[in-house]
Amino acid sequence: MECVFGLVGNGFAIVAADTSAVHSILVHKSNEDKIMILDSHKLIAASGESGDRVQFTEYIQKNVALYQFRNGIPLTTAAAANFTRGELATALRKNPYFVNILLAGYDKETGPSLYYIDYIATLHKVDKGAFGYGSYFSLAMMDRHYHSGMTVEEAIDLVDKCIMEIRSRLVVAPPNFVIKIVDKDGAREYAWRESVKDAEVASA
């Protein structure tokens, strides 16, 4: 039921993820941020087993930071993606992590990039990618409307189209989404798309 998708535009990469934390039939919370800011110019959108998701992405984040302190320069997006994939691969035949990841980053030399890393350590560099049941709808939408070199406005429009499609066609569609963007100015939150806000506590 978790939906994560992303695409690369002109000088930026954008990722969107649903924000529901679900346990069987219970929705724990509907504002769970599943897109972690890995470092100043990288985003990691993760979906899957919630314990693994947090543990694994935090582990990657701290190792990326350690690399930067040790070497004085940050990892490139490609290097971070390969490192992440390597960790998943090492754990796969012993103690696998059930986490699917879209890693978006911006490097000064090579521009924006998006990496598709699934839980069995597949690594692909892609222009657009998606995970979860929502991917049936978002990938189809992106296949239809994506072109290389989209502007931020065009990309957001496409993201909104995908969210609309997921909301209307997926049986247990997540109500809220968060959108984050990474470009030359860094990685940051772009917007939320909420159709259900947590109810205010009624005053006595």
């Binding site: 935090e58 582990y59 701290k62 190792n63 930071a65 350690l66 302190f69 040790r70 004085g72």
Partner: protein, 249 residues
């Protein structure tokens, strides 16, 4: 006495651990390092022995950061320093991962000192031949700190301290001239202290400054030269003032 330097774990009859004392000797031979704590800033300065002409001096960094808010300078065996610094950097990230909190300066100092102590009580290893000066800001209160560790594994907090060559003279100078300062004044005090034992000039000292907002910043040669020039001017003015009064009588 020769029999008691062998195994590190052996005390001498008069209660010395000679290997640790020899490690302290190694520190005393290392280049001078000074640290000064201000109210909103901490400054580290290290003597730079003249770099060989063909050497790329950018690869010889004597003041390093352990985390966004912690920096370290040391005197002694630089190769040993690499090992300790690496372990400390790992510990900084490990701490963040397990307790979701950045380390405090005291925590990481205690960790480094603990590591140094371990190597004074194990078989087949020698102590780390370096003393460190660790500076940083508390991640929540923003209070600056300066700590020092030595090969024996002891550590304590200081307002200002020096280690390495001629550290006694630098410390005497600091004891005489220390007062609570902030910003540029603290930087000047650190450089003045270091210039007591080092030839003047930006080429011979490396200075780094840490603030809560901007983290660690290495001062470039031009900046150091400018401050050193200011210090020289102030010294000259003070000398002139000393000579002037007799004329006024």
């Amino acid at each position: 006495m020769a029999r008691y330097d062998r195994a590190i774990t052996v005390f001498s009859p008069d209660g010395h651990l000679f290997q640790v004392e020899y490690a302290l000797e190694a520190v005393r031979k290392g280049n001078a390092a000074v640290g000064v704590r201000g109210t909103d800033i901490v400054v580290l300065g290290v003597e730079k022995k003249s770099t060989a002409k063909l050497q790329d001096s950018r690869t010889v960094r004597k003041i390093v950061n352990l985390d966004d808010h912690i920096a370290l300078a040391c005197a002694g065996l630089k190769a040993d320093a690499r090992v300790l610094i690496n372990r400390a950097r790992i510990e900084c990230q490990s701490h963040r991962l397990t307790v979701e909190d950045p380390v405090t300066v005291e925590y990481i100092t205690r960790y480094i000192a603990g590591l140094q102590q371990k190597y004074t009580q194990s078989g087949g290893v020698r102590p780390f031949g370096l003393s460190t000066l660790i500076v940083g800001f508390d991640p929540y209160t923003g209070i600056p700190s300066l700590y020092q560790t030595d090969p024996s594994g002891t550590f304590s907090a200081w307002k200002a301290n020096a280690t390495g060559r001629n550290s006694n003279s630098i410390r005497e100078f600091l004891e005489k001239n220390y007062k609570e300062t902030s910003g540029q004044e603290t930087i000047k005090l650190a450089i003045r202290a270091l210039l007591e034992v080092v030839e003047s000039g930006g080429k011979n000292i490396e200075v780094a400054v840490m603030t809560k907002e901007h983290g660690l910043r290495q001062l470039d040669e031009a900046e150091i030269d400018a401050i050193a020039a200011e210090i020289e001017a102030e010294k000259a003015a003070a000398e002139a003032a000393k000579k002037a009064p007799p004329k006024e009588t």
